[in-house]
Amino acid sequence: MFLGSTMFRHRWLPIFLVAPLAVLVFLFFYAPVFQAFYWSFFLERPFGGGSEYVGWDNFARVLSDPEFWKASGRTVLFMATASSLAVLVPLILAIAADRAVRMSLPARNILVWPKGIAGASIGLVFSFVFNPFVGVLAPLNSLFPGIWNPSFDGFDAYISLIVAHVWGNIPFNFVILLAGLRAIPHTIIQAGAMDGAGPWRRILDVQLPLIMPQLFLTLVLEFTESVTSAFALIDTITKGGPGGATTLLVYKIYLDGFSSYDLSGASTQTAILMVFFILVATLQFVLLGRHINYER
């Protein structure tokens, strides 16, 4: 870092410079986070009808609600499947694009496009593509009636969400993983070839171990991303249905808070979700701190 002599000494100027962002972070990050925890110990009446301290009652109510556990289970399942696919698909694409083939250049351009398309827009497109009556799979339905119907079958709805989620998350993960692959020195690849490792073997034994940091990072970021970005997809493709089969926790919090006006319940669930993500972040920090890194 910088030595004392290579830094300015001012009492007020740095405070003045950092203050605007610090105030915003306090008001719109720390205050809401604090309030979520605070409210989970109070019974809040909607429209400012006052509040009453109820201790752990809200937690008892939420934790004894089977819907909460179902939504949490779905969230964890979605996190596990959607985020691993959203890393695996770009990984395969990045390994392919890293080779000097003619397709590589257009692919590197086109695979970034989804970054500019809102989750809700692509959700609407996929809700049409997967529509059982007019969509791509409609012919399949006329051959085998009822084989594909996301508005009745929870599993089909779930698949629609995952396909849309992976679509939207290709750009970031693809760019990161490709950058990792391209940073591998050519000499290491050549050394592998000299030792008789063919191109397939080198993927497993040279390239994959060397991009472990990038792979780990994309997976870690994808955890948070899959839980929060799912909202726009759920709201446009499945509306949480059929019969609540795709109601993840974030969507349930939205319904509880903004449709049922159960502010205490919504805050309590937000607080539980936050604790979960703080734990995940701590775990990541511990693991990342251990440096999955190889000398290059």
């Binding site: 809401p32 409210w39 970034v112 496009w113 497109v125 409609a138 760019v175 050549q190």
Partner: protein
């Protein structure tokens, strides 16, 4: 390298082809659907060949929906988010890296912590704060007992109300409470040679002059990357604009687009919706086409 890699190159090309089709397929279907009439779609379902109703549907978006007006909202939100994030992050990272203070490390950690819990997770209580921006200050004064003092001195406790819900400011400001930009600039400043700073000091540059004449020109490409990233994220926001805006002419285009789907019953007017989706995606997509270099650079920087 002299090596027979034909088989793997063929497989790689095939994989990339599948990837490109996966990305472009839905986009192509969006285009063809938008070029048919509602009746045609009801009869034939999804069609791979383009029709001739495209401009009719686009005109309907302009005459029958609020999307044009909402696109202006989206532009205000995306530009406001991008510009304010760039300025605030640049200034705070400058203070954290180039000033000798005891609190720099703590403040940086507190700002960076915002990345762990995104807005889409804490929207319920952020909504409450936005409904009265002074509520945390009111609560703080109440809790510390300062308000009793103020009440004794001025005759009334400090209690102010200011709702930013359903305003442009309310759509933008909560998005700014994010640490990624500060992190990006800090990383960039740390890569600059220390001698640069010493030379500037020797030539008698003060903090403001160093900021304006040396740091600002050097940071141009970091600015561009951060600008593209935050513009795209501002434009594509969904959950926050959905809850923070209550009238159609305050909603952003993405929210307005989703509102074109009827709640229950009939098959939605997909040609109209797809025409809207194309219109809404034109701005961010052309931005990606023009500034792809900065986007890719920004994505790579944000992981470091």
């Amino acid at each position: 390298m002299v090596e027979n890699a034909r088989s793997i190159n063929i497989v790689a090309s095939l994989i990339l082809l599948v990837g490109i089709i996966y990305i472009l397929g839905p986009l192509y279907l969006t285009l063809t659907t938008a070029s048919h009439s509602y009746e045609f779609m009801l009869q034939n379902g999804l069609v791979w060949s383009p029709g001739d109703e495209f401009f009719v549907n686009i005109r309907r978006i302009f005459t029958e929906t609020s999307i044009p007006r909402q696109m202006i909202n989206s532009l205000i939100v995306a530009l406001g988010d991008a510009i304010a994030t760039c300025v605030l992050s640049f200034l705070s990272a400058y203070a954290i890296v180039y000033f000798r203070t005891r609190w720099a490390g703590v403040v940086f950690a507190l700002i960076l912590a915002t990345v762990i819990l995104p807005l889409d997770m804490r929207f319920v209580t952020t909504y409450q704060v936005a409904s009265n921006v002074f509520s945390p200050i009111n609560a703080l004064l109440d809790a510390t007992g300062l308000n009793d003092l103020i009440a004794a001195l001025f005759g009334a406790p400090f209690h102010m109300e200011w709702s930013i819900l359903n305003t442009h400011a309310g759509l933008v400001i909560p998005l700014l409470a994010h640490g990624m930009g500060t992190f990006l600039f800090r990383q960039f400043f740390l890569t600059l040679p220390r001698d640069l700073f010493k030379a500037a000091r020797m030539d008698g540059a003060g903090p403001i002059r160093f900021l304006v004449d040396i740091l600002l020109p050097l940071s141009r490409s970091t600015f561009a990357s951060l600008f593209v990233l935050t513009f795209l994220s501002g434009w594509t926001q969904y959950l926050w604009p959905l809850v923070a805006s209550s009238t159609a002419d305050m909603q952003t285009a993405v929210v307005g687009l989703a509102r074109l789907v009827p709640d229950e019953g009939a098959v939605p007017d997909y040609p109209l919706i797809m025409a809207g989706a194309i219109l809404v995606s034109i701005v961010p997509l052309s931005m990606i086409a023009l500034l792809q270099r900065y986007l890719v650079q920004g994505l790579i920087l944000s992981e470091k």
